[in-house]
Symmetry: C2
Subunit: 223 residues, 2 copies
Amino acid sequence: MDLFDQKKENKSLTTLIFEKIREDIINDVYKNDEKIIEAKVAEEMGVSRTPVREAIKQLELDGLVENIPNRGVIVKGVTPQDIEDIYTMRLAIEGIAAKWSVERMSEDALKDLKDIYELMEFYTVKKDIEKIFELNTRFHEVIYKASSSRYLEHVLTDFQQFIKSTRKISLATEGRVEEALKEHKKILDAFLAKDIKAATDALIYHIEHSKCNAGKMVDRTTK
Amino acid sequence: MDLFDQKKENKSLTTLIFEKIREDIINDVYKNDEKIIEAKVAEEMGVSRTPVREAIKQLELDGLVENIPNRGVIVKGVTPQDIEDIYTMRLAIEGIAAKWSVERMSEDALKDLKDIYELMEFYTVKKDIEKIFELNTRFHEVIYKASSSRYLEHVLTDFQQFIKSTRKISLATEGRVEEALKEHKKILDAFLAKDIKAATDALIYHIEHSKCNAGKMVDRTTK
DNA sequence: TCCAATATAATTGTATACACTTACTCACAC
DNA sequence: GTGTGAGTAAGTGTATACAATTATATTGGA
């Protein structure tokens, strides 16, 4: 398949396939409880079964598919309830992240955060949702990384992946990009001022707001 | 290798190897930054490279090894700092779990919890640390499952794995088993009474206590 | 017609083979 | 002695082959 011909970023087929299938599960291309057949996926992608198997094994660990020995794997997608739950957990952990990140963030990371915010401003004016979404992800990842906690970063980065679809929809609702920009400004300012409480509050406010918005979307799409 | 001859529990070689290596990383058999060579592991275990590769790919997702393309994987073990961080995150999420689990726990699960507790009592008298440890793990897993949140269960179960070594050491310290038993009694009673606040408090007290105890152990072993 | 038993197909699980990339060694030039 | 480069070895990445298991279809009997 042409998608994989170039093998960008030095990634292995396994990694590319993993990311592709994860994306497809999260975006509901693979429906819940659907069966995934290795050989079929392999043929569709023009590769052998080996990297597909390895990718599926990874998805299994992420909880996105369930393996029934000798019978196959079935998709266990992210339900609205799952997203709701993940947001709740994220809120709890993001509070910890805020504290650690403010305390430990390097000047370089602070500059990154500022740069990302400024790009956000730019693309918000241009209304380029795709770019904003990507910057949004990176903004939070810089904060996670600054926490200097490998597992905290790991958990929160994972969460971001799982709620990706919802975040995308949320951002596309009328007026949300401008709101989100303001919220990110507050977060940035708090980090620049090294104000733990302000940062925590701003982050939690931001996520609660996203969650609330997401909740609305879920309701709308499921009813 | 004889370990895998019987293939217990219908598990695939991949799964068995995954669990084995994870155990070995967590218990520091594989040292940090050590390189893992597929072929070597495969030979040691008397299997082909295929299931070993698949297992390693899973470990990668868990963050226990890091893959450098075409060069190999290196062990990224759980440091004392990691364990400290995981305990902190666990505390935050366990509070959420307590609430949901009390609300949603079925009578069957409640009975399981009670049964496990009673076995704990029994083995505490017998001072069978290994059994107590296993029951301890199951006790908390019943609570996680009762939350009816797939991802909460997933995250907390993972955490338990990562801090396994520390929990084991902690439990082996003088007088800790008896303390832990009392703490579990309080948790059980709160669940039986369906008292969310009491359950939350008891759980958090229990984990903080474990954490504190673990912290002491870390200090002792690293200095 | 319906059920059971058996053959057949489909699919996963594991092993092996080959390709590709990176690391290492040793000779040769300077 | 040191640096450079070809050649070799080691190791990962991917494809294929075969074994084991499970699902499906078919046939024969009641």
